[in-house]
């Protein structure tokens, strides 16, 4: 590996670095848990790395809230998410996803923005954020800003809507309108840590005080080129009482989730296994 590193400390320095290198081959990195592996497998001669690890700008790092949403800086690490009480209380799906990611050492450096921009179909935090209908706040080196729903920001396998001028500053998650929630992240793999999901299911349901589901967000990982938000499965649940979902309704829900799956077979699991497990775990989310 042989490449130049630029380590901006402020937002203007960062934007200038992006601006100045538009004609060159550059990559942006923060925790480097995926990027270094990619670099090992490719020619890095002439590559410029814009390193965000020394950026001091709080907007990129803090977790805050206002009346309508939570803001999570793109450089927030998985460990920081896990340690945040509001996240744990309000969004168990995100807490669990961050907690099931890799290992303590990796969680200490891996960032939310990195997890999103790596665009892996098995991204843990990404799946949770898609289920939560998170929005990306994007800035560019010309001073423009834009917002885009995460599920549309991801355009395909390893593809996002980001241009070469842009990067994600933070992510917002709409606040729960109910305290009655059912939220979690199921990650299927053969070991408890240092695992990449063979199948994952992120779900976040909000119920009124009678138990009627008023919001359903369900996304499934590692079963398609991107992580789908399972709209038809979510629509099926909306309006049903969480305490009163029949076995046939669970089956129907699982079938609808499964309809979004188009998995591959690889050394870790066959497409058959991925579908079978996705169907199975989809049925179980009502049981706990």
């Amino acid at each position: 590996m042989n490449f130049d590193v630029i380590s901006p400390k402020t937002t203007p320095e960062l934007l200038n670095a992006i601006y100045d290198n538009q004609s060159k081959n550059f990559r942006i990195g923060a925790g480097f848990t995926d990027l270094i592996n990619q670099f090992k497998a490719q020619e890095t001669e002439g590559l410029i790395l814009i390193n965000l690890a020394q950026l001091t700008e709080v907007d990129f790092k803090k977790i805050s809230e206002n009346e309508i949403n939570f803001q999570i800086g793109a450089l927030t690490t998985a460990s920081e998410l896990i340690d945040n009480k509001s996240i744990k209380e309000n969004f168990p799906v995100l807490y669990q996803a961050a907690n099931k990611l890799a290992s303590t050492q990796i969680r200490n450096v891996a960032t939310v923005g990195g997890n999103i921009c790596n665009v892996s179909p098995s991204g843990d935090m990404t799946a949770a954020l898609i289920a939560l209908k998170a929005t990306c706040h994007i800035i560019d080196c010309d001073g423009n800003e834009r917002k885009e729903l995460l599920s549309s920001f991801i355009r395909g396998l390893k593809k996002t809507s980001l241009t070469k001028k842009e990067l994600i500053k933070n992510i917002t998650i709409p606040k729960n309108f109910s305290k009655n929630i059912k939220s979690g992240y199921e990650k299927v793999g053969s070991r408890k840590s240092m695992e990449i999901a063979i199948v994952s299911l992120a779900y976040h349901l909000q119920m009124d005080d009678k138990g009627v589901i008023t919001y359903a967000g369900v996304a499934c990982g590692a079963v398609a080129p991107t992580i789908p938000f399972t709209t038809s499965a979510c629509e099926f649940l909306t309006g049903k009482n969480i305490n009163d979902i029949s076995d046939s309704e669970k089956e129907e829900f699982a079938k609808r989730v499964l309809s979004y799956a188009n998995p591959i077979s690889d050394i870790r699991a066959s497409d058959w296994y991925r579908k079978e497990v996705l169907f199975n775990i989809s049925k179980t989310i009502f049981e706990r």
């Binding site: 299927v188 053969s190 240092m194 050394i267 699991a269 296994y273 079978e276 497990v277 775990i281 179980t284």
Partner: protein, 776 residues
């Protein structure tokens, strides 16, 4: 009453290891050292038409390149069927074609890419059964299968039998015949393979900094490969980051590194990347086992008949000799009146297999213990009871001639059955998403070395200096198993010298006396006995001098706190030694001792008492199977092992937990996935070694049988903990689900496929169907 032995002592080098101060092979840097890199074949089976190194040679920083045409060497390996560098043909995906030495690793790697090789790709043979067919071409041109075994692709073959098989078959009420398939797995040592070589062209001596487990055999093997005199080769072992049997054989990269050093005239170092470690280091032998076993109406075993086809890979390393251990288990694990054993290692274009902790025994034990469960089921007997009535016993001389002078088999079995609540879990109805099950597995392994070479011995030199410090120079090797700590403890116990004043020297063939190497769970046994012999001699020396100095008559000295005491007489050890050194008749306080175990060679029929003593163990493992995902989680491991006597409790616990981690991975997740001879998962991402977070609670109950052959009554313990683990887990999964698995690993996908099969077991009926007999 022991003061030191039986109490926990931290590893001598523990602090250096955890603080990063330990010097591994990777940390060695010599002046002007070059870095080596190896070009491996692009295809697992091909003819080499041409090799062009000219572009690589012209790269700045490249100092030398070697191919088969540049070197005068012998073939290597147990059957001498393995060229160090390949020419003409390549036979498996780790085959070495050329090697480069350059100023930096990056340059060496780049040069490798610039070497142009023209291949004619051939269709390889990747299935040993296919390889045995007459129409299949000969795979290894040096193999002597046609002359020796009547099949050109047979690399090695073993036959063993005892008892009257037909008579025992006729007595059998139940006969179970099953076919088991075992995967290829790797040691996954945390330190990747490494070697540094330096050649002195003035005196023709070669120094190798190597992670070998067998330095004296290695010295001989390197010498044979390079056509050198063994004594001109000095082997220095830096701290070794994992052995597990992988370093029992010499592999091509080692003489290659020496050749690069000889040719370049500069020191050369070769370090494997993790990917290379997966691709190019030895594996456990994969095999298909067809096992037929019987028992009479009372559950007494009658016979075992087994036929094994092993995938030897393209060349022959120690993996082909695992039948030495496997036939012990088939013939002698539990009482077996008749046994017939055939094993054939068959050449294929897969990578060759080496030795791995357990040496064939995990495979054998998996098949034996699965068949035992099946026989019990068929007979309507409890799985615990059938094991207890057939268990090995003290005084038993088995059909193979193994003599169990002490035997903890029955206490070990009883302990794990009781402690695991085996009967209760077996009887508990099983419904719902998570199914619990429990399984038993037992094992037999050598505990007092194994007489395979002309000597199974170990030498020790002791020196006490003017200041009362003791230096133990031992032939034995430390690969992390903790033997040097045990040696220090023995010296502390016997000579009363504190740990801080003891040095263990064990890393240099120019200094240390002969020893076979670290294998067969032998080190604490042979090196411990050797040290005790040496201590007896040095005590005689000290006693003689102390008698003279104190003017007393006794040979009953107490050694404590650096002093020798007898009644009111006492003298410091260092004082005694100073008087030896500096007063007439001026002598050294040094002794040499060589210990050879009382074991015997086996005869041509593989019969004989091959080890100084034998280790026995049982495991009862509790699992929980998630029927939604198919994942099997190990909840509790109850392991009871006849260790003779516990020497260092914390070290022993470490051996237990480490062995179990490997055993659990073997049972559930680890597998090298090959497609037509090419490894598809050469990384820890794809190769699922379990992590510390997956470790279950380990409940260890040592059984002390005080075997007189071992130091303080101890037996070898290193390999045992992983041997019955896969067997016990497979039995537990079968108990949980009512579905049995005949191949490893029992992956989540295999479990789900079995559950989704047309005849799934009925919920809740599994356990009630099985009778549970209480036994006391």
């Amino acid at each position: 009453m022991m003061k030191v032995i039986g109490k926990s002592h931290q590893k001598l080098d523990g602090k250096e290891r955890v603080s990063g101060k330990a010097v591994y092979g990777h940390d060695i840097e010599l002046p002007n050292m070059l870095h080596g890199s190896i070009l491996r074949t692009k295809y697992p089976c091909a003819e080499i038409i041409s090799i062009d190194t000219s572009k690589a040679l012209s790269l700045d920083g490249v100092e030398c390149i070697i191919t088969a045409n540049d070197v005068d060497v012998n073939n290597i390996g147990y059957k001498k069927d393995h060229p160090i560098l390949k020419k003409g043909t390549v036979n498996c995906n780790r085959d070495e074609i050329a090697a480069v030495a350059a100023r930096t690793k990056e340059i060496a790697d780049k040069a490798i890419q610039l070497i142009e090789v023209e291949y004619k790709i051939k269709e390889g043979v990747y299935d040993p059964f296919e390889a045995l067919k007459e129409t299949t071409p000969r795979i290894n041109e040096f193999g002597k299968g046609a002359e020796q075994f009547g099949n050109k692709n047979m690399a090695e073959s073993f036959h063993y039998e005892h008892g009257n098989l037909e008579e025992q078959k006729a007595k059998s009420k139940v006969i179970i015949k099953k076919r088991y398939e075992l995967p290829r797995v790797t040691h996954a040592c945390i330190a990747t393979s490494n070697i540094t070589a330096e050649f002195n062209n003035f005196d023709g001596r070669l120094t190798l900094w190597s992670s070998t487990q067998v330095p004296f055999l290695y010295q001989r093997d390197i010498a044979h490969a390079l056509k050198m005199e063994p004594s001109k080769i000095r082997v220095i072992q830096p701290i070794i980051g994992g052995g597990f049997g992988s370093k029992l054989d010499m592999h091509p990269f080692e003489p290659i590194c020496a050749l690069l050093a000889i040719k370049s005239g500069k020191p050369v170092q070769i370090l494997y990347s993790r990917e290379e470690e997966f691709i190019a280091s030895p594996t456990r032998q994969p095999m298909v086992i067809e096992l037929t076993t019987g028992c009479d109406e009372n559950g007494k075993f009658t016979f075992r008949e087994v036929e094994i086809i092993k995938d030897n890979g393209a060349y022959t390393s120690w993996g082909a000799t695992t039948p030495f251990v496997m036939m012990q288990s088939y013939s002698s694990l539990y009482q077996v009146p008749a046994c017939k054993f055939d094993s054939h290692a068959v050449y294929t274009n897969n990578p060759f297999a080496g030795s791995f902790r357990g040496y064939g025994n995990p495979q054998a034990t998996f098949s034996i213990e699965s068949n035992i469960d099946l026989m019990a089921e068929e007979l309507g007997m409890s799985q615990a009871e059938i094991r207890l009535i057939n268990a090995n016993y003290k005084g038993e001389i088995t059909g193979q001639g193994l003599h169990f002078k002490t035997c903890g088999a029955i206490p070990a079995l009883k302990t794990v059955i009781e402690k695991s609540n085996y009967d209760k879990i077996m009887a508990t109805p099983n419904t719902g998403r998570y199914r619990r099950g429990v399984g038993l597995g037992s094992m037999l392994h050598v505990g007092g070395g194994a007489k395979i070479y002309r000597s199974d011995g170990c030498g020790t030199t002791l020196k006490i200096d003017d200041y009362g410090y003791l230096t133990i120079v031992t032939g034995s090797n430390e690969i992390g198993q903790g033997s040097e700590t045990v040696l220090a403890m023995i010296a502390m116990e016997e000579l009363g010298i504190p740990k801080e004043k003891i040095k263990v020297i064990n890393t240099d063939t120019d200094v240390k006396p002969w020893d076979v190497g670290v294998h067969a769970s032998r080190t604490s046994f042979v090196a411990g006995n050797s040290l005790l012999g040496a201590i007896k001699l040095i005590k005689e020396k000290l006693s003689k001098k102390a008698i003279e100095l104190l003017d007393v008559v006794t040979d009953d000295w107490e050694y404590a706190n650096g002093m020798m005491r007898f009644n009111e007489f006492e003298i410091k050890l260092d004082k005694v030694v100073r008087e030896m050194h500096f007063a007439s008749p001026h002598e050294l306080c040094m002794v040499n001792y060589f210990y050879e175990p009382p074991s015997k060679f086996q005869d041509k029929d593989f019969k004989g008492d091959v080890s100084g003593n034998y280790a026995f163990a049982s495991q009862a493992i509790e699992v929980e199977v998630d029927t939604v995902t198919g994942n099997v989680r190990v909840l509790n491991v109850h392991v009871s092992q006849d260790v003779g006597r516990v020497l260092n409790p914390v070290g022993l616990q470490g051996q237990m937990e480490g062995g179990l981690a490997t055993g659990i991975g073997y049972a559930l997740t680890e597998e090298m996935i090959y497609e037509k001879g090419v490894l598809k998962n050469p990384s820890f991402h794809g190769y699922k070694m379990l992590t510390s977070t997956d470790m279950p609670d380990v409940h260890f109950y040592p059984i002390e049988t005080y075997d007189e052959a071992g130091p303080y009554g101890s037996k070898g313990a290193g390999e045992a903990p992983l041997i019955p683990t896969a067997a016990a887990i497979a039995n537990a999964v079968s108990n949980a689900l009512g579905v049995r698995f005949y191949s490893l690993p029992i992956t989540a996908e295999k479990v789900l496929r079995a559950l989704a099969s047309p005849t799934p077991p009925k919920e809740g009926l599994l356990r009630e169907a099985k009778p549970v007999t209480k036994h006391q």
